[in-house]
């Protein structure tokens, strides 16, 4: 069975009024109360959202070679963690402050990049809680332009905009008229940051096949090709949940190898990102939130 990408939209669930209510609640109550309620609700969610459950169970069983029992437990924890990061996002909308820990060397390399006149491309993926990184990874001299898919509700978009406005961030919606490409190119040319997911093929259908675990995954060509074409650095940022109020930010700076031809440089950056995702999965196995068969095999 193959669970296709289209079955998993990656948008935040719930009606707008529910999301607004949750934000109000979280502005007055501790989010741990909601975590406790969620621990009870998760099994029902796994039962009702059967396709997501199967996809993630496959991931642990087939891709990570776990026993059925361990894969089942990890699937439960994965759903719980996913709920936690969504709640944390709403808590942040409601004014909650989180703690972010950085590796000093990685943080310095990232800040140093921000001090250079050139812009850079930043890639993220559906692991941990990247959206919260916007609140923690401010670059004094650079504005960030994240590419966003306009599938979220108005409540989500308005709250994002409100929070991002204070953090030197301006969202760039994917558009049929390709205006997003002009916006991202302008951002890089002006020495700013173009941020986009490195694990989801949308906008352009072009993809790069990369080795991942024992199989192959298709990563979008966009972010890697953009870094190579504009000859700028590429950063991979992962924001991973460690405690109820604490996230650890992992940040890697990569540069295209100029001794390779253009196509090889794009492939090299994409492969490096796939390797980093694998490393992160090994560190945080229950924070992988791609609910479809991300990795394919020759016999699929």
């Amino acid at each position: 069975m193959s669970l296709e990408h289209d079955n998993w939209k990656g948008t935040t669930g719930g009606m707008p009024w529910m999301q607004r209510t949750l934000i109000k609640w979280l502005s007055v109550i501790d989010q741990r109360v909601i975590y406790v309620v969620m621990a009870v609700v998760v099994p029902w969610y796994m039962l009702l959202g059967h396709r997501c459950y199967l996809a993630i169970y496959h991931f642990y069983r087939r891709d990570r070679h776990e026993s059925w029992w361990r894969a089942f437990v990890h699937s439960y924890v994965n759903h719980f963690r996913f709920g936690q990061v969504v709640i944390d996002r709403f808590a942040a909308f409601g004014g909650k402050q989180f703690r972010f820990m950085f590796d000093a060397e990685q943080q310095e390399a990232y800040l140093d990049l921000g001090r250079q006149p050139e812009g850079f491309v930043q890639v993220s993926c559906h692991m941990g809680n990247y959206e919260l990184a916007g609140y923690s990874m401010r670059q004094e001299s650079k504005r960030m332009y994240p590419l966003v898919f306009m599938g979220e509700t108005e409540t989500m978009m308005l709250n994002r905009q409100k929070l991002f406005a204070d953090h030197n961030i301006e969202m760039v919606p994917v558009s049929d008229d390709m205006s997003h490409i002009f916006a991202l190119n302008n951002a890089l040319r002006d020495g700013n940051i173009a941020s986009m997911p490195g694990d989801r093929v949308f906008g352009s259908p072009k993809a790069i096949a990369c080795r991942m675990m024992d199989g192959v995954c298709d990563l979008p060509a966009g972010p890697f090709q953009m870094a190579v074409t504009r000859d700028c650095a590429l950063t991979a940022v992962f924001v991973m949940k460690e405690r109820w109020d604490t996230y650890r930010v992992w940040c890697y700076v990569m540069r295209p190898d100029l001794s390779l031809d253009k196509r090889q440089r794009v492939a090299q950056l994409a492969q490096r990102f796939a390797d980093l995702m694998t490393e992160m999965i090994d560190r945080y196995p229950t924070q992988w939130f791609n609910y479809f068969d991300f990795i394919r095999y020759e016999d699929d």
């Binding site: 558009s175 390709m178 205006s179 997003h180 490409i181 906008g203 352009s204 966009g222 074409t229 196509r263």
Partner: protein
């Protein structure tokens, strides 16, 4: 403006090794039908205009007109090139 040279630059920027300049119709649409380019290719063309002709495209509406065909690109380059 040398159309053949522009076509070679397009082939090179977009890695269209299977194509020769004469395979590209001067008036055929570059996006959708015709060459069938997409948004990532648009970035390559924007950077090509900047790198070879010093033209910094900022406006998507303008881009739509310029990238209609090779002839449209050539006309725009003739009128706006700085190098």
């Amino acid at each position: 403006m040398n159309i053949e040279e522009l076509k070679n630059q397009i082939i090179d920027a977009l890695n269209l090794e299977d194509l020769k300049p004469e395979d590209i119709d001067n008036d055929a649409p570059l996006f959708g039908e015709g060459l069938g380019l997409d948004s990532i290719d648009a970035l390559e063309l924007i950077v090509l205009m900047e790198k070879y002709y010093g033209i910094k495209l900022q406006n998507p509406a303008e881009g739509k007109q310029i990238f209609k065909s090779v002839n449209c690109m050539a006309e725009y380059i003739d009128a706006h090139r700085t190098k």
